[in-house]
């Protein structure tokens, strides 16, 4: 069993082989799934905590503030302290609320993001499951979250929540189109929906550089649409603090509120990972086709570093949007999608198909 931070394939395969040699196939599968589940769960919690801290620091930086700096050095333990606070808070039950739906909603939201994270390649060989239709799977699964949001708003017996949920429904259903179509542009270029193949295809240049202007347009549209899909500012109409107090999660308290909160950050992480994987090469180092020496130097930087660096870059962009722009109005939001992004996207796909057909890409 060899372990290398450049290539996890032999490590993961040897674990797999070890399990199958010592157990019956059924139990090996169970053990494997448990291990992966635990790893993803821990990863999920850690990334969530880190992102909350990062957002606080980034937002403080944008707003001339210091941000959390009391609990632990530079305030890094602040989010953990807040987590415990939320865990210990009372869960308030609302009169005349639909109890079953009310309790189920946060779990639907969190399960949707949980499922999406399992299909993302973190490094070579560090990949829970490599579907043939990876992108399709991630889009399908991540859009399940809206069901939870709608249920939360519907079952809370609160008009603000209901308005927030309805806005969120209209918003996610519309922007799902743009997310799908902008990814489709890259699928035309890559010729596959499999994440590992997409990353491998960017060995001599990331798709954002390979695909000329159409890829760049698709990247920008993906950034806008995915920010909208995760309900973050300037598209945070579902929460819209100044209008709807807290939107769909107004009535939630304690750990159930924390679930919504965590899911928001994880959705941000997921869309940033997809953007990093599909447009910026995922864990693939920065390569330029033909420059052997340069590529070799770049290979010394571990893939995990590349992956998290790119994801952090996209996340920072999304935070930058949130803390700079005012919020859109619901009709402007839908106008932006249906009248601008969607037509641009459709033309862009044609353009990309033409570029690929003529072989103009690098």
């Amino acid at each position: 069993m060899t372990f290398s931070i450049y290539d996890f394939t032999s490590f993961t395969q040897s674990v797999d082989k070890f399990l199958y040699e010592n157990l019956t196939p059924f139990w090996a599968l169970i053990v494997e799934m448990t291990i992966i589940g635990l790893v993803v769960l821990v990863f999920y919690a850690l990334v969530g905590l880190f992102l909350v801290y990062a957002e606080r620091k980034v937002c403080a930086f944008m707003q001339n503030r210091v941000g959390p700096n009391r609990v632990g050095p530079y305030g890094i333990v602040q989010t953990i302290a807040d987590l415990f606070k939320l865990l210990m808070k009372e869960l308030i039950y609302i009169k005349n609320a639909d109890k079953l739906l009310f309790n189920i909603a946060p779990f639907i939201v969190i399960i949707a993001s949980f499922m999406a994270i399992s299909a993302i390649p973190f490094a070579k060989g560090l990949h829970a499951i490599d579907f043939d239709i990876g992108i399709l799977y991630v889009i399908a699964v991540s859009s399940l979250g809206v069901v939870g949001v709608l249920l939360a708003g519907w079952s809370s017996n609160n008009k603000y929540s209901l308005i927030g949920a309805m806005r969120s429904g209209a918003q996610i259903v519309s922007y799902e189109l743009s997310v799908g179509l902008s990814l489709l542009t890259i699928i035309i270029l890559a010729g596959t929906m499999q994440f590992s193949a997409i990353v491998a295809g960017q060995e001599n240049g990331w798709f954002i550089f390979k695909g000329h202007i159409p890829a760049l347009i698709a990247f920008i549209i993906f950034l806008i649409a995915s920010t909208a899909e995760t309900n973050r500012g300037p598209f945070d109409l579902a929460e819209a603090e100044s209008e709807l107090t807290a939107g769909y999660h107004t009535e939630y308290s304690g750990i159930k509120f924390a679930f919504f909160f965590l899911a928001e950050y994880m959705n941000m992480f997921i869309v940033a990972s997809i953007a990093a994987t599909v447009f910026l090469g995922g864990w693939m180092p920065f390569h330029v086709g033909g420059w052997e020496g340069f590529n070799h130097v770049m290979d010394f930087i571990p893939p995990l570093f590349w992956y998290f660096g790119k994801t952090a870059f996209v996340i920072f962009m999304m935070m930058w949007f949130k803390w700079t722009f005012p919020r859109l109005r619901i009709d402007q939001l839908l106008t932006l999608e249906w009248k601008y992004l969607l037509p641009i996207n459709l033309v862009n796909i044609l353009l990309m198909a033409f570029v690929v057909l003529m072989g103009w890409h690098f």
Partner: protein, 375 residues
């Protein structure tokens, strides 16, 4: 044969429902309750319910002497506390026919304008936040802090100053006052460009405010909408121009008028007013004459029998004080004409047929301070 019963079919899309915005709501800027009838997201009509912070200040005034009343006027529109104080002081001085020294007029005008800038800065913060741009809040507060520091140095308090007394000031300004005000003007001239960069020029902000909440000049006059909100509709109502008091007749400044009457016009009026206020301060700050900080006053002030009225231009509009005196040391009746109450009355008219988000933006542009409405 079965009888067919025709039940009235309700068209859900045309049904209205009510939501209570407030008394606790992030965008009502205090304890104001708006009962909003909505059809989907569209505001059909709106009823403001006032009185959650009613303290009976007008009645309390009847039990207090004139120098004591000053402290109560701070608590009306707490963001333009100095200007409210000024109105009462001017009224008492007018009634007693006291000529205050030039120095006091200069200092009062400068501090009024600083107060106006501070108030507009806080309005800018909260307007940005109403639109969802949270960063604005910290930009505005950062700069407002400089003004509050100047205030704190000269008279020891940051929000409710009660610095003016009938006939003068409670104490002289701090020796650093002139230097710090000049430093602030220099600093804020640079920083106000940030305001334009982050909010005024933003396309989302312009889309959200242009053409929203239209208030015509006629409506502004009939609702009594004054101040920046009225001037955004082209209603020339600046008391500093039309009925000058203190030093306003001696300084050069423009009355900012916009004729669009929408939320963006009201926004732009305030942005320009901050610059005009700086212009006024610059003209006065170097020429403050030496002298006493108060005129000679009697120990007990008794206004002659009669009715008196004095108005000033507060940060949110025309602030009027009306006093009926029966010759005692306390007024027989005192009435405040608070700008926010009249401005709020136009809210229902201009936010109909808009979205909830528009209502929040319009409310932000009218810039109401609730204690001033309820008194």
């Amino acid at each position: 044969m079965k009888e067919v019963i025709n039940l009235p079919v309700k068209n859900i899309e045309e049904e209205e429902y009510h939501i209570n915005m407030g008394p606790q709501h992030p965008s009502t800027h205090g304890v104001l309750r708006l009962v909003v009838s909505l059809q989907g997201e569209i505001v059909k009509n709106l009823k403001p319910h006032c009185g959650y912070i009613h303290r009976g200040i007008e009645k309390m005034c009847e039990k207090n002497t004139y120098p004591q009343i000053i402290h109560l006027t701070d608590r009306l529109d707490y963001l333009s506390a100095h200007i409210n104080n000024h109105a009462v002081c001017l009224l008492v001085e007018k009634a007693l026919e006291i000529e205050v020294p030039e120095r006091i007029k200069y200092i009062r005008t400068i501090i009024d304008e600083l107060n106006r800038i501070a108030s507009h800065q806080l309005w800018w913060c909260s307007f940005g936040m109403d639109l969802g741009g949270l960063t604005c809040f910290f930009y505005g507060l950062r700069d407002r802090e400089h003004i509050l520091d100047i205030f704190e140095e000269s008279f020891g308090s940051r929000l409710l100053h009660s610095y003016y007394t009938p006939g003068g000031l409670i104490q002289d300004v701090h020796p650093n006052f002139q230097k710090r005000v000049k430093d602030f003007i220099k600093y804020f001239r640079k920083k106000i460009k940030d305001y334009d960069d982050i909010l005024t020029g933003n396309i989302i902000m312009q889309e959200r405010t242009k053409g929203i909440g239209l208030l015509t000049k006629e409506d502004a006059i009939s609702y009594g909408v004054t101040g920046p909100s009225g001037r955004g509709s082209g209603f020339s109502c600046d008391v500093r121009k039309h009925h000058p008091y203190s030093m306003y007749s001696n300084v050069e400044f423009n009355e900012i008028l916009f004729h669009e009457g929408d939320t963006f016009a009201r926004y732009m009026v305030r942005m320009h007013e901050m610059r005009e206020s700086m212009k006024i301060i610059e003209q006065l700050i170097d020429n403050i004459p030496a002298g006493d900080y108060t005129a000679k006053m009697k120990a007990v002030l008794k206004l002659p029998v009669g009715e008196y009225f004095q108005r000033v231009e507060a940060a949110r509009g025309e602030f009027g004080v009306y006093v009926v005196s029966d010759g005692n040391k306390t007024p027989y009746r005192m009435k405040f004409r608070s700008p926010n109450f009249s401005n709020l009355s136009a809210l229902d008219h201009i936010s109909r047929e808009g979205k909830i988000a528009d209502l929040v933006a319009i409310g932000g542009s009218l810039d109401y301070v609730i204690p001033d409405i309820d008194r």
